[in-house]
């Protein structure tokens, strides 16, 4: 008997701090290479797609191949603005944390295309079940910046009345479901919401996000099971940004397969999409939305992207990955890629881009200034009576007595 000694495998990322950052192990097919099946096709015909990578924008900024959504220049400019606004807002608000004006912040840097493109691809009344890294959904729909700042500062004008951590928004008027810090626990709500839409013969669909790290939670698999069983009209998205705080995607099970391929066992269509490509994100979303709206059920989409910033204000990414790793990401920057495309199309210019950047910068500065005038964390807060509201629809005696005890 010559049996090998058993060895426990613990995945490790290609490089840690001090090492040479590299994404050479990733197979990046050229843009335009993946076929676009009819959205009415049977899942059994597209079982190769979870292993492909749908890309539209090539390295020169051309839109190529069958997935080109042929968007109007206006729509692309709108998307570009939303992405730029998200990044500028993030950078500015992240700094306010360093200045002690808020307790917490999370940036979407590098991932702005996903929320922005999907926000514009779906219609009013469809419901987004977000993660904290798709704020571009709200920016694409012109959510008032001052309200957002007030929430982040937890000040007197905080729309969530000081009850929720910064960035964990809720914006019903913008079809943006209430966020929570428990990652993944709303993925199944999207499925239930979509089941309700189908039950009522409505025409609305749900869109949900989950990070690649969180696909390891039961919530993800429970939601996919229900999506497989009841075929509700929803789009289930995995934003694979390579990192869950300090754990690389291999720790979430991404070493042996793709996250899109998780769809296969559920009999759901799985698409793997360049998440830094505004046009590819739009095209995949439209394809999945077409299926959802015609009773063909759910689609799982993996958006392949890169978290260019840290997880939040609470971690320093240089402690667990090479400081320059973002620079090696082979799929580029979503803002730069769309800008390049628009310029190539003759629909945008450097001057226009600079003017827009300046306009956005002013708008964000003004919003922060307004928020600061209301007050930053600890300097202003909603009435303490708000602490006791919305526990139940109507307060019970405990809340009434305790309010009295506190004298409010």
């Amino acid at each position: 008997m010559n049996k090998p000694r058993l060895e426990l495998h613990v995945p490790t990322p290609p490089a840690r701090p001090g090492g040479q950052a590299s994404f050479k192990h990733l197979e990046i097919p050229p843009a335009g290479a993946v076929r676009r099946p009819d959205s009415a096709c049977d899942e059994s015909e597209i079982r190769d797609l979870p292993y492909a990578l749908i890309r539209v924008l090539d390295d020169e900024g051309r839109a190529v191949g069958p997935w080109d959504p042929a968007l109007t220049p206006d729509r692309m400019r709108k998307g570009l603005r939303a992405m730029m606004l998200t990044r500028t807002f993030d950078d500015r608000l992240f700094r306010t944390h360093r200045q002690g004006k808020t307790s917490f912040y999370m940036k979407s840097t590098g991932e702005e295309a996903i929320g922005a493109a999907q926000s514009l691809a779906l219609v009013t009344g469809d419901m987004c079940f977000p993660t904290y890294r798709v704020m571009s959904w709200l920016h694409a729909r012109d959510y008032p910046l001052d309200l957002m700042v007030n929430q982040i500062f937890s000040n007197e004008k905080d729309p969530l009345k000081g009850r929720q951590l910064p960035i964990l928004f809720s914006a019903r008027d913008y079809d943006f479901y209430s966020l929570s810090g428990n990652v993944g626990s709303r993925f199944g709500h999207a499925v239930g919401w979509a089941m309700a839409s189908a039950y009522k013969h409505d025409d609305k669909i749900a869109l949900a996000y989950i990070g690649e790290g969180t696909t390891a939670e039961g919530d993800f698999h429970e939601a996919l099971t229900f999506a497989s069983v009841y075929r509700p009209p929803c789009i289930l998205c995995v934003t694979n940004n390579q990192w869950a705080i300090s754990s690389f995607a291999g720790i979430a099970g991404g070493e042996m397969t793709t996250f899109a391929a998780k769809a296969l066992a559920y009999g759901l269509p799985g698409l793997r999409v360049d998440g830094n490509d505004f046009l590819a994100v739009t095209a995949a979303t439209q394809w999945a939305a077409d299926r959802a709206r015609t009773n063909r059920g759910a689609t799982l989409i993996e958006f392949f992207t890169y978290r260019a910033s840290g997880h939040s204000t609470s971690d320093d990414p240089t402690k667990y990955r090479p400081a320059d790793e973002a620079g090696y990401w082979p799929l580029g920057d979503p803002i730069e890629r769309l800008r390049q495309h628009l310029i190539l199309q003759g629909e945008w210019s450097e001057a226009q881009h600079e003017a827009l950047a300046a306009e956005i910068d002013d708008a964000v500065r003004l919003a922060v200034k307004e928020g600061e005038a209301v007050g930053t964390l600890g300097k202003s807060k909603p009435s303490v009576s708000e602490m006791f509201k919305c526990v139940f629809k109507e307060p019970d005696w405990r809340v009434i007595e305790q309010r009295r005890e506190l004298g409010i």
Binding site: M127, S185, A196, E222
Partner: protein, 337 residues
Amino acid sequence: MASMNMIQALNNALDEKLAQDPDVLTFGEDVGYFGGVFRVTDKLQEKHGVTRCFDTPISEGGIVAAAIGMGAYGLRPVAEIQFADYILPAFDQLVSEAARLRYRSNGEFWSPITVRSPYGGGIFGGQTHSQSPEAIFAHITGLKTVIPSNPHDAKGLLISAIEEDDPVIVLEPKRIYNGPFDGRHDHALKTWSGHPKAEVPEGLYRVPLGQADLVREGSEVTVLAYGTMVHVALAGIDESEVDAELIDLRSIVPLDIDAIVGSVRKTGRCVILHEASRFGGFGGELTALVQERCFDYLKAPIDRVAGWDTPYPHAFEWDYFPGPGRLAKALRRAMEY
């Protein structure tokens, strides 16, 4: 008015709500065609259609997550968890989502779900079909927890729960589904037939949440109980020959604090009876509330009669189960203090 057991009363409540409100639907494991392992949803699929009463995967977390999403859309889903012992995979959904959605979104989103679940012991179900987890729900701000003790209340409370705009857990004591079990396990089984609370009115009526029921008036000790223990308490009071007042709490959140305080101030003594293990059980909260509000009226220490602090056993069912004998002893102890 018809005589019903608790299963029929719960079935009737669901049937009438399904008929009255198109936004009500019910689902769970084996709930659809089969009608539930305890038959609470019997024939509802046949009567109301497959999209209004259906089977789900064996996925308690998935069931409650889907229910919350439906509730957020605007429906009033009623989910069944087959046994309360199996509700724990859904605990995160109940605690982190259902109970918190309204608060964290400043009322933008809420989910008026009802989660029904058979619970409690006395059926030789062993550890996984006998537990009483009500205290862990009572501790969660944002959840309401209801425990009926008879067919009349079961129907009225379930209708109230479904119409509530907050999430409600309805724990159904399975030992009294078919009859008012008083803990005397060696006696002949009783059915609900002939019991006054088995008279269930037709049509929609509500037993409001947070309103206790005075089951027996008395002057010497107040007994606080709910679910199966209401019937055990009656037997225990009988055995003790103490003139005890029995209050059926019916819902532990919201809690009818006025009924409790009024009674204990009158009797000056309080014994709490529940099936769940004692340490950290809901009896601890009741004890604290009574102590805080009735201290000057108390003539004896507040006492708790509860399950022992062990996991729910199998062969020792009747050694574990707090029966009438143990309550009688506690009542006499309170009187002799």
